[in-house]
Symmetry: C2
Subunit: 655 residues, 2 copies
């Protein structure tokens, strides 16, 4: 043993607490100095004669022990800090006098239906910040999903008086709804109250459902959502700018019996599904249930092979594999069947082919029944009927007895979008409100009505701008477009409709292809054909959270800029109808990739690359969703949910 | 600086990772040895010239830094371990052939209603353990609350074939329901699936509601709880022993309009209350709500000043103080009123006087309106009407406009208890099933039907045992009881009815008091009066979780003993009717104290001591409930809930 003296530190203030962190040799030395009787013991124990491997192990064990000790102490300190913080959160606060705008207490009536017009809200005058905001332009956001949260996220505080109209009081992290439906994560980990999200911009929530839009007077008509036993009322919310972000409902495709199906768009849906799944297992394990009935109760049918359908099927499979198995009669596990009915040839058909194949193989391996190229004919209370063409072209009808059907195929307009679409004669799209590249609703007064997310679709028709485009590009005013002018025109189109970019890569080839009379210039007829065909080739943006969120953020940034630069706009005599073009480029979508969970495995479609695999991919899938949470609160809760699942399994309680 | 050499440890395997944990002097020394150029720097920086206070601080800072670093590393290691564990929880399991008892697949019919008799369950033959159990005595537990869980907790595995009949699939930690009702804790932190609790004893759950008891054939008639759209079925569950632990419903006291009230007995109730509370706040913050309506929406009425009522009022107060304040218009906070209507003179009247006073003072300080000595006359959809006697004896009628009424006053029998009570002619109690001191239902075949918890009440009538007691005690058979014999009798009574103990303390005084003819012996008439009066003085056990849990555990232990000692019982020719007395003493309740939360303060009534106070008491209150959780899972979730509340506030989402 090497000779050394007691380190200076242990003679300082922290002597006792620091002691345990010194290498044992020091103890030995300490003993030598203070307690000469233990000399022999110390000398034996720290002898250099010990074999090197043993010493190595001893050192390792020692440091592990120190590390664990320090961690424990650190955790205690942390716990203490949490307690201390917690103790300061129990406060008393008193409210004596709250100034309220007289107009908020007694709104004047007006509009086509002579309803109260809510130009001041209850909290508008309650403090200086709110009072200052109440005279700013009123921005009304209809809906509380991805689009709305995106807008709020990017708005500068202090520029707009923001009001959100939503029948729900919270926003939902929709991509994890399939997980919540089987209890892998808890429902409250997916929601964040809109009032908390709005706090940053001092915004307001009106817990109501939008029913109509009066564009001439800039009013949104809403019907309040009230406690049972109370009468709902209607009122107008005036706006300077309104954003329609109401999402969509599921498309019925004209299939009868959809009232027997579940959807998966809200946390209420997830709760109902969870209850039904557990209900089915409980009923199946009753001794009086007949074998056929048991098979029916344990047959889960998902209509639609998109990400939601695939993920729900995978989550139900996981639930059965990992949790049901342990607590229900084993015969139940044996009788489980999961079916996915897809109208296309493959599931996940919007993803890359490799991914689609991988998912199908995984499902095959898991004995999940994939029914592709089939159409659901009807849904009955106790079964699903579908048709499938055989190889020789005949149409065969099949039935799956079941007590759980999830319907997740495509989108349709919800009543408010439908109403807005009906109000405007030039709205012809059947599934969503058409907007221009600046996300302004087509046909509505420019710069006042916007629509984003599932509720909207960006127009892809270039031909309707034909004359305008020719006017801009035809420099020599000969009514024809030569190649130089065509190049100008292409850049104009790209600016106006960024989604057309992909179709306009080969400028020369296009010009030559459509120059049918080969006069080295395009006349109006030739141009019309060209633009129409290009328009048809543009694919609409998918109805995903990613698109809605990006559109919301784009609009939030743009509206902040409009407000910031309003002096410049005024000086240039630019009204709301031209402000968008003045401050910002049209909306441009950046596809960050698609991902899906397929049962202890996950797939990523990142455009050029596909990435798929087992557990590692699943953890990656989780971390992507984790990083996209709206708040640290949901982030923490989600992490806890995953850890809790690992330790104690899924939540099997039916509630 | 003292001279020292490099410790041996850093030359060993862990050199690099261990380096940062050595005191900086070591670095300095290291430098001296290996890099002579930094000698000056090292010497200056670790100079002993630094003032002692500074050095002390530096040492402190240094150790804090080490501690934080080690904690971080420790946490990383822990996270790694959790991940590693998590990765192994994603398993694949396959089920090929599951043996099922033929009788489970096709139960024979019988009983008074010719229903299926379920003598074998689906999982009875699925493995060796279950097969062995299926021939053991069948123990059927009706209900899944505190009593049932207490029984399961103390049963030895392998002694009984256990079946729980419950309409819910989980057990609930009822004392925290008021917290869950306002989002302080999450609902899923209070529930634990019964199937998980039953796993230890290989028990079975039948998700059904008990409707009738056929004691002659030892059958429980149940009606299944099934998914919507499916027909419920009825069947018989045969038993050797049945335990009735179905709890209670709220007593109506004949008040009309209770359908407009909320109860707080299940998680469903807590969810409904939470929804209504948030609904009320949302509706109150709508601009078209009139001031009177706003006051009505924000008026919360609790009928009943017991612990549930008081805690709910306190939790609603907390919610308003700590969370509503931050996110709703301030005028809402101003208009909140909370009312507690109590029929007695004081709230918490079963607690000590000091506690009752403390709670009342706290509520006074918090501006919670206490209406004592008042009777609720009726509940209407928009108000509560109550009467109160004035000082001069007149009865005044008052009204409180409200949109939320909680009814929590006393208990009544639920339909199954009522049915059992009606079946037995000697059951006369109106609020619960009468049981003897061994918790056996009075009038039912001894040793086969038990009742525990709120559903039961232990009989306190001693006089009904008069002749039996005299027979046992009258040693000289003179038909009279002298003092010596009276002492024997007292010990017999205490053994038979432990609850009478309190009334039998003063043996001599009692004897002299009731010996009306002063002949130094008690004749039958004198004894009858004595026993009757003592019986009246015994107070029944309160309808609390504590009583139910202790009764359940007592019964679990006793039934395990009965099974264990069955060879001895058989050898002695003792059938079920005498087994209870043979193996165990009668049930004896140990009051561990009562506690209640009263809004960032808590009170404890520990019998002789009372303890009450602010935050410290609240933390103590939490730790008591925390330690009483049924599983580590709910314990962890509860702790997380409390931490989450401290950091991010209560969950304000309406779901």
């Amino acid at each position: 043993m090497l000779r050394r003296t007691v380190p200076a530190t242990i003679r300082l203030g922290l002597q006792r607490s620091a002691l345990y962190r010194l290498p044992p040799q020091t103890y030995a030395r300490l003993s030598l100095t203070r307690y000469p009787t233990v000399r022999t013991y110390a000398a034996t124990n720290t002898s250099t004669e010990a074999p090197p491997l043993f010493r190595r192990f001893r050192t390792f064990a020692r440091y592990t022990f120190y590390l664990a000790g320090s961690t424990l102490v650190g955790c205690f300190v942390l716990t203490g800090a949490i307690f201390l913080h917690d103790a300061f959160t129990y406060q008393e606060r008193n409210v004596d006098r709250v100034p309220v705008a007289p107009r908020a207490l007694a709104p004047e009536r007006g509009g086509p239906k002579n309803l109260p017009i809510v130009s001041r809200l209850l909290s508008d005058y309650e403090d200086e910040e709110n009072r200052a905001l109440s005279d700013k332009p009123h921005l009304v956001i209809v809906g509380g999903g991805w689009g709305a949260v995106g807008v709020i996220d990017k708005l500068n505080p202090g520029e707009y008086h923001v009001t959100v109209i939503s029948p729900e009081t919270y926003t939902t992290f929709t991509p994890l709804l399939p997980s919540a439906a089987v209890g892998t994560v808890s429902i409250r980990s997916l929601v964040e109250p809109l009032r908390k999200i709005l706090a940053r911009v001092h915004g307001h929530l009106i817990n109501a459902r939008a029913v109509d839009l009066v564009m001439s007077e800039r009013l949104v008509e809403v019907e309040t959502v009230v406690p049972a036993g109370t009468q709902p009322t209607r009122m107008y919310i005036p706006y300077d700018k309104v954003i329609i972000a109401v999402g969509s409902t599921s498309s019925t495709h004209g299939v009868p019996g959809l009232e027997h199906c579940y959807q998966l768009k809200t946390v209420g849906d997830a709760q109902a599904i969870r209850k039904r799944v557990i209900d089915n297992f409980e009923a199946a394990s009753l001794p009086t249930t007949s074998p056929e009935e048991r098979k029916r109760l344990l047959s889960f049918v998902v209509c639609g092979g998109g990400p939601t359908g695939v993920e729900t099927a995978a989550e139900i499979y996981d639930l059965c594999q990992e949790d049901i198995f342990n607590y229900f009669p084993k015969i139940c596990r044996k009788d489980i069947s999961i079916h996915v009915i897809q109208s296309r040839e493959h599931i996940l058909n919007t993803y890359s082919e490799a991914i689609s194949k991988y998912a199908e193989d995984k499902f095959l391996h898991d004995h999940i029944d994939l029914v592709t190229s089939a159409r659901v004919a009807s849904v009955e209370p106790d079964k699903v009927v579908y048709t499938k063409k055989t190889a020789d072209g005949k149409v065969e009808t099949h039935e799956i007895p079941t007590n759980f059907v999830l319907w997740s195929t495509g989108i349709a307009m919800n009543p408010f979008s439908k109403r807005v679409s009906d109000l405007l004669p030039n709205q012809v799209h059947k599934k969503a409100i058409e907007v221009d590249a600046h996300l302004r609703v087509k046909g509505a007064p420019l710069g006042t009505v916007y629509a984003i997310g599932d509720a909207s679709t960006i127009e892809t028709s270039i031909v309707s701008y034909l004359l305008e485009l020719v006017d801009e590009a035809d420099k020599n005013k000969d009514g024809k477009i030569d190649f130089e002018e065509w190049e100008i025109m292409v850049s104009r189109i790209k600016k106006r409709i960024p989604m057309a970019e992909g179709q306009l890569q080969k400028v020369r080839e296009l010009f030559d292809l459509y120059d049918s009379d080969a006069d080295n210039s395009l006349n109006l007829n030739e141009l019309a054909v060209l633009l129409q065909e290009i328009g048809h080739k543009i694919t609409a943006l998918p109805a995903t959270a990613q698109v809605a969120s990006q559109q919301g953020k784009y609009l939030g940034k743009k509206l902040s800029k409009v407000a910031e630069r309003s002096p410049v706009l005024q000086a240039n005599g630019i009204g709301p109808e031209g402000a968008d073009e003045f401050v910002a480029q049209p909306f441009r979508y950046f596809h960050l990739g698609s991902l899906a969970y397929i049962g202890n495995a996950a797939v990523f479609d990142l455009g050029r690359f596909s990435f798929m695999g087992g557990l590692a991919a699943m953890y990656a899938w989780r971390s992507v969703y984790w990083s996209e949470q709206v708040s640290m609160r949901t982030r923490a809760l989600l992490m806890i949910d995953w850890v809790v699942r690992g330790i104690w399994g899924r939540d099997l309680s039916r509630l």
